[in-house]
Amino acid sequence: MRAGELAERVRARVPDVTVARGEVTAVVDRTRLLAELAGLRDDGDLAFDFLSSVTATDWPGRVPRYWVSYELSSTLHRHRLRVKVGIAEDDARLPSVTALFPTADWHERETFDLYGIVFDGHPNLTRILLPDDWEGHPLRKTEELGGVNTRYKGAFVPPVDRRTT
């Protein structure tokens, strides 16, 4: 289905749909996330049954701060859709979609690990990429890039811009 026609179909379900650069993006409210994803999957003409990726972007200073995006595609019709949900800084929680798409398991763990967004209903929401006792969520814009702490016997090398040697 071409992007324009797809956008019309999706707009019938979810009002907030934009088309840019050949891609269709639908913005969904967090309370309706599971219902909308299930609807998009079960609709015969849309049939978005494959979840490629779940990720988040941090826009500090904007409200809502975190935007979680789900990349959906259809194995039947071969079209793509992006579903985005905006969540506020002080209430960074979303329902987990692992019941609908089992592949979201590790994607949501990674988003939790790097951004601190909690997914309610996830079977095992623990850190996946960073050590289990790591403090902080590094991909947030408010966190610094260069922690050059070598976590061994207290050795410390300052970040690049503050080194003297």
């Binding site: 590094p138 050059v148 702490n149 061994y152 090398v157």
Partner: protein
């Protein structure tokens, strides 16, 4: 035999003691050289390939750039049976304790080659996730720069290590 008296070293000792020490030194030096030569002839690396440099390390061990010429094609999986650790690739914070554990499990004498810039100094990844140089975790003997170093570069680093072992090896 007349022995040159070195100031500070031979004060207050009898000539026969000094002679004995010199003879003992000569014997041990010869033994040093023999053992060091043997050690460098078949240094077995432990498999510690982490990232891209690991692929180049495997290519160095494969047919085209054969490490078997120096008796090193046998990468031991168990650190207890290895005497060289080639840290090939970027060491993340999560991997650092594992690196130290494997190093500690290797028996003496052991050497470390830090292969690639990521292992030597953090490489291009100056960020929260990568240890900026494994020499803050293990003592390194030879640093091989490159991203990744070509197999010839790694071989050169290995040969320099062999030279180091041959000339500076000590039995006692």
């Amino acid at each position: 035999m007349p022995v040159e008296r070195l100031p500070g070293l031979h004060e207050g000792r009898a000539t026969s003691d000094v002679e004995q020490e010199v003879r003992r030194g000569v014997l041990l030096t010869t033994l040093d050289r023999a053992v060091s030569w043997a050690r460098k002839q078949s240094m077995w690396p432990v498999t510690f390939g982490l990232a891209c440099c690991a692929i180049e390390m495997m290519a160095t061990g494969a047919g085209d750039y054969d490490l078997s010429r120096w008796g090193m094609e046998l990468f031991r999986a168990s650190p207890r049976q290895a005497d060289l650790m080639i840290v090939a690739g970027r060491v993340s914070q999560k991997m650092a304790p594992v690196l130290r554990t494997v190093y500690d499990q290797m028996p003496e004498p052991k050497w470390v080659i830090s292969m690639g810039v990521c292992a030597s100094a953090g490489g291009m990844f100056t960020n929260y996730a990568i240890v900026q140089g494994v020499d803050s975790i293990v003592p390194v003997d030879v640093y091989v720069p490159g991203c990744p170093p070509k197999p010839e570069m790694l071989m050169y680093g290995i040969l320099r290590l062999h030279e180091k072992v041959r000339t500076q090896g000590r039995v006692r």
